[in-house]
Symmetry: C2
Subunit: 168 residues, 2 copies
DNA sequence: GAGGTTTGTTTAGCATCCTAATAATATACG
DNA sequence: CGTATATTATTAGGATGCTAAACAAACCTC
């Protein structure tokens, strides 16, 4: 064994199998997506993660809910509570959200948009539709739907794997 | 659903258009993918990013190249040089790579796998094929190929957008 | 109702990524 | 040749995400 025989056999060409290609294309696409979106959000003085919180709060408000607890945001954004704490901290510092108390539960805190926050959300939303269309313009409507279907199927499968992991 | 007029018109349903769905499914899929992969890499004492460097070095080595400069890694991994510095720092601390000098260029440093690093790569590669297959098992081979094709098309489009951004 | 468990949030500490700025070397051009 | 520019790597500082652990409050069980 003087050369890279085991490595080569196992991995030298592994990157070319359909499974590897599919996986890498997800990682790659996501990376590029982030790079395109980041300057877009920066125009509004926020980050993509912050927009996730703002959009979620706005939708909740539109649905008539009185703010969301940190835990609710964690569930909807699929990020852990400590991460939510950090993002909300920065949004609060920006003055676009506030934490108030939840009547009947002294542990919980409810996050709501401020007037300034609502104005920001409106400003972003006004630009959002065209921006999203620009981003996915590389695919026609049918391809967009196909992509959504395939990724949905994959995500369902991954969620199954995750449940098993947690169960262990 | 009669009230919330501005919010509803601008954003309430925006998440349901094919373009939005496609975009969100990428973000969602990537997030789940990370969650599944992270414990897998943790078994080997590394992170996904660190594996990216190790795999790239191993491929380079298999191609007969004498190590890669930090800049080469930056190009291949699509991350900025300062990020490469950090990942390589930690890999060096783990003893799986080393930085040596590049003959003829005192600025550059070449990163190569150590013996320990090569052993680690071999160990990961041995488990890698089955793991990748498990992950994408939610899709059949044709779907995997479709996904790769669609994401490739999207990524090409995004790269076009990025060039324009940089050109500004 | 007391004690144990669960839930909601935060803190601490780590890894990743970024941009901007620094330092050092290489290259190119006048 | 000598200065101006470009390249290579790093540092500094910020944002995001994670896990583990701490804490308080709520719930549940006996």
């Amino acid at each position: 064994m003087k050369a890279q025989s085991p490595a080569d056999a196992a991995g030298g060409q592994a990157g070319e199998r359909p499974a590897d290609l599919a996986l890498r294309s997800i990682v790659h696409a996501f990376g590029q997506l982030e790079r395109v979106m980041q300057p877009y959000f920066a125009r509004f003085g926020i980050t993509g993660s912050q927009w996730g919180v703002l959009r979620t709060l706005q939708r909740s408000e539109a649905a008539g809910e009185a703010g969301l607890r940190l835990t609710d945001l964690s569930d909807r954004l699929l990020i852990r509570p400590p991460s939510v704490t950090g993002v909300v901290d920065r949004l609060e510092r920006l003055g676009v959200v506030v934490r108030d108390s939840v009547p009947g539960d002294l542990r919980a805190k409810r996050v709501t948009l401020t007037r300034k926050g609502r104005e920001l959300v409106a400003r972003v939303l006004a630009a959002h539709g065209p921006q999203v269309e620009t981003i996915v313009a590389g695919l026609n409507a049918g391809e967009q739907a196909d992509l959504h279907r395939l990724l949905g199927k994959l995500t369902n499968h991954l969620e199954g794997l995750l449940s098993k992991q947690e169960a262990k």
